[in-house]
Amino acid sequence: MFNRSATSSVSRCINAWSASLLLVLCLPVFADKSGPVVRLFPTTVLEDIRETGQVAEAMENSLQDVIARMDMQQQLYTQSLCEGAEGDQGCDRIGKQLGATYLEMLNVMQERLPDMEIAVNNTRASLEKRLREEIGYRTTPTSLQDTLLGEVSAAGPEKDRPALRGRSGIRLSDRFQKYYELVATTREGPGRSLAVVASDIYLDMNEASQLIAATQQEISRAALMEQLNQSFGLITPEMSAVVGGVKEILFGETMDRSSIAAPPYMIGESEFVSPLAM
């Protein structure tokens, strides 16, 4: 139920959030290279993203320790052949310790999630304002195409780009891992349009905000359940459901979406330009 993969997931998540910090550091360079018409990442937005990364990292560090301990207790429980050994005092004790660690995890989550929620909402709000002002009000549909196409035309091979997000099922940490890939690509040459990056982060922040709110509700309910269940000292399905919810935000499974092949545009190629072309 609580296996070792949780620890590695935490590490992945930390990497992902570190990637978000890298993204923040690299965005001004990215902006200069692509020469965008719109200013989507002023200092205030970058500061919000940086702060969100820090809050997330702090939460992940706190959870890493608790989840590692839970892993060890789970291992001990299994090695001691406690599954199904009802009435065994030793096993009961291990079970209760597991339940207590689980409650500790819920407390950490409950303590950290409000900060996380505030940080995510701040980032979402500042990006929302920039998108509205810079793209919503300062671009026309025609110039939007120019912005997107102008920057995409010089982009690297499709395989090096992060896939676009889907409508659902994309985890926050996974997204930031993909942003890391974007930054890595950007170091070697121009990449995806800033408008796309901003839209991507904004939509993710919306999704994360909803997930955090839902998880907070779930944690409150599950904490009460576990306090009642302490006398049994068992790992209940509710416990695993809550851990699943936590992992949904932080330790998302990789959804490998294959993207359409788009070979790089050959800049040096002499091509016909029609007098009718837009």
């Binding site: 990006l127 929302e128 304002k129 998108l131 509205r132 793209i135 919503g136 009000y137 300062r138 671009t139 026309t140 549909p141 025609t142 939007l144 195409q145 997107l148 196409l149 995409v152 035309s153 499709e158 676009l164 997000r165 995806r192 349009s193 408008a195 796309v196 901003a198 839209s199 991507d200 904004y202 939509l203 919306n206 359409i260 092949a261 788009a262 070979p263 790089p264 545009y265 050959m266 091509e271 016909f272 029609s274 007098p275 009718l276 072309a277 837009m278």
Partner: protein, 188 residues
């Protein structure tokens, strides 16, 4: 008797006239036939001859048939040939400049004619975002014919495909941001 003769003469004349008119109509219909050749250059020459001799009303049929001919013989030059044809059709007065531009860009440009406008995105595109995206998807199919199949230019087609996806994402975020702004204004 003379009245009867006059009547029969009239009938014969009418018959001859109607046969002649029918033949002329048939001849005209034949003259407006779609090109039969598989050579795009010759097909364009035939079409332009027809367009100059009373078959302007079939312009769009001709254009579609030329696309089919081009798709059967894909070549990077086809895009130029089609562009020249559209320019000449405009110069002949068969189509307007806007029509010529619209057709060329719909089939042979990476950019989408479905996403055009001079007003801001919040006010012009967001209220009809679903329709715009639907039109762009339909246009991508035409680009598949014009760019990929007729011009053998898969790179440009992939760029158009990518542009469509990115536009979808950016519009989703931007229109959500616009709607949030509208809510804030209405609450104040």
């Amino acid at each position: 008797m003379s009245r009867l003769k006059l009547l029969s003469t009239g009938c014969v004349a009418g018959l001859i006239l109607s046969i002649t008119a029918g033949c002329a109509s048939q001849q005209n219909a034949d003259a407006c036939n779609l090109p039969q050749t598989s050579d795009l250059d010759r097909a364009i020459t035939n079409v332009e001859h027809n367009l100059a001799t009373g078959c302007e009303h079939r312009f769009h049929d001709y254009f579609q048939s030329l696309l089919v001919v081009a798709a059967d013989n894909p070549h990077s030059n086809n895009r130029m040939l089609m562009s020249d044809h559209l320019v000449r059709s405009h110069e002949q007065g068969v189509i307007s400049k806007r029509q010529a531009q619209g057709l060329y860009n719909r089939y042979f440009s990476v950019k989408f004619v479905s996403l055009q406008g001079e007003y801001n995105t919040c006010s012009q595109t967001c209220p009809v975002r679903d329709k715009v995206m639907s039109d762009m998807k339909a246009e991508l199919q035409d680009k598949e014919l014009g760019l990929m199949r007729a011009s053998a230019d898969s790179n440009s087609y992939y760029r158009a495909d990518n542009l469509l996806k990115e536009t979808d994402l950016v519009l989703e975020a931007t229109c959500r941001a616009c709607a949030a702004g509208n809510r804030q204004v209405s609450q104040q």
